[in-house]
Symmetry: C2
Subunit: 178 residues, 2 copies
């Protein structure tokens, strides 16, 4: 979803434990793709997860990228762009989203989402610590709402031009294969 209005968007998933968090990190990755991010980077190496997500991309379209096994702190600190940490301890997204949109018009953005406890370094390195409500919920919903606010809801109408396309139905399921 790179456009004339903003740089690329990278989601950085940290605290991933391939067995315990398999499904949650899969959901975070699918949200990143469906809501308009360009790629996800995951701290722990997880080839099965990479394969699953690449399968979704090859069927449903788009050019979303996944990469796992990185030193997250170095990656986050050295990122050339605006660094966000999504956390229930941060500032309400509605108070900062316009400023973030303005600052990323010509710059890339990285959005960190942690599992359970996020090291304090993430809060200190981040340019913005952003809360999607100061209540406990989920990194899956936090990322979705953040990207939805960032794109003003337009990402729900994005066409991915995949081989497999869902045809919206009042009652039932319809899939079109190209």
């Amino acid at each position: 979803m790179e456009s004339e209005h903003h740089g690329s968007i990278t989601v950085l998933r940290i605290g991933h434990r391939p067995f315990r968090d398999k499904r949650i990190t899969t959901h975070v990755s699918l949200v990143a793709r469906a809501f308009g991010a360009d790629r996800i980077v995951i701290d722990e190496k997880d080839e099965l997860l990479e394969e699953n997500i690449n399968n979704v991309v090859s069927r449903f379209g788009g050019d979303f990228k996944i990469n796992s096994g990185v030193n997250w702190k170095k990656y986050f600190r050295d990122f050339n762009g605006i660094r966000l940490n999504l956390s229930m301890y941060g500032i309400n997204v509605d108070d900062k989203i316009e400023e973030i949109r303005e600052k990323t018009k010509n710059r890339d953005m990285i959005v960190l989402v942690g599992a359970e406890k996020v090291p304090i370094d993430a809060y200190l390195i981040a340019d913005y610590n952003i809360a999607i409500a100061n209540q406990p919920h989920s990194e899956v919903s936090a990322l979705a709402i953040f990207l939805d606010r960032y794109f003003n809801g337009k990402e729900l109408h994005k066409n991915f031009n995949g081989k497999l396309n869902i045809v919206p139905m009042e009652h039932g399921k319809m899939v079109k294969y190209i």
Copy 2:
């Protein structure tokens, strides 16, 4: 979040397998609470999950209810109110949200969210099959975006009056205990 504008909101989680889906259903429940639903009902009995969610409610406030171990099909079919199924095969939320808001001004609403494969009955019983993008992502994000659209984003500013309150911070974590 019952108000003068709408009836109660129940989330119905189906296909829950206590071991495999523990964390995802926990996230679904926390989203239901944080984004303004009144209760969650889960098909499989799961006392540990109930206890976890009740703990969050007692610390963070509000009067969200959780109940597990119900016959979902009977519960959904016999529900006295507007029945929704969230699914990537449905109609885009943006095309239906005003109509749904109108219809639930004086009526209760139930929102079904399934794990992986949802039986076709859910699609047939539902008054509305609603998609949050016709792309695969997550029941956690689908529920969050649906409730966010329904409440026009106001739920992010709801005060839960809990014993434990997060104080928004630019960098760091602050919790106020009452």
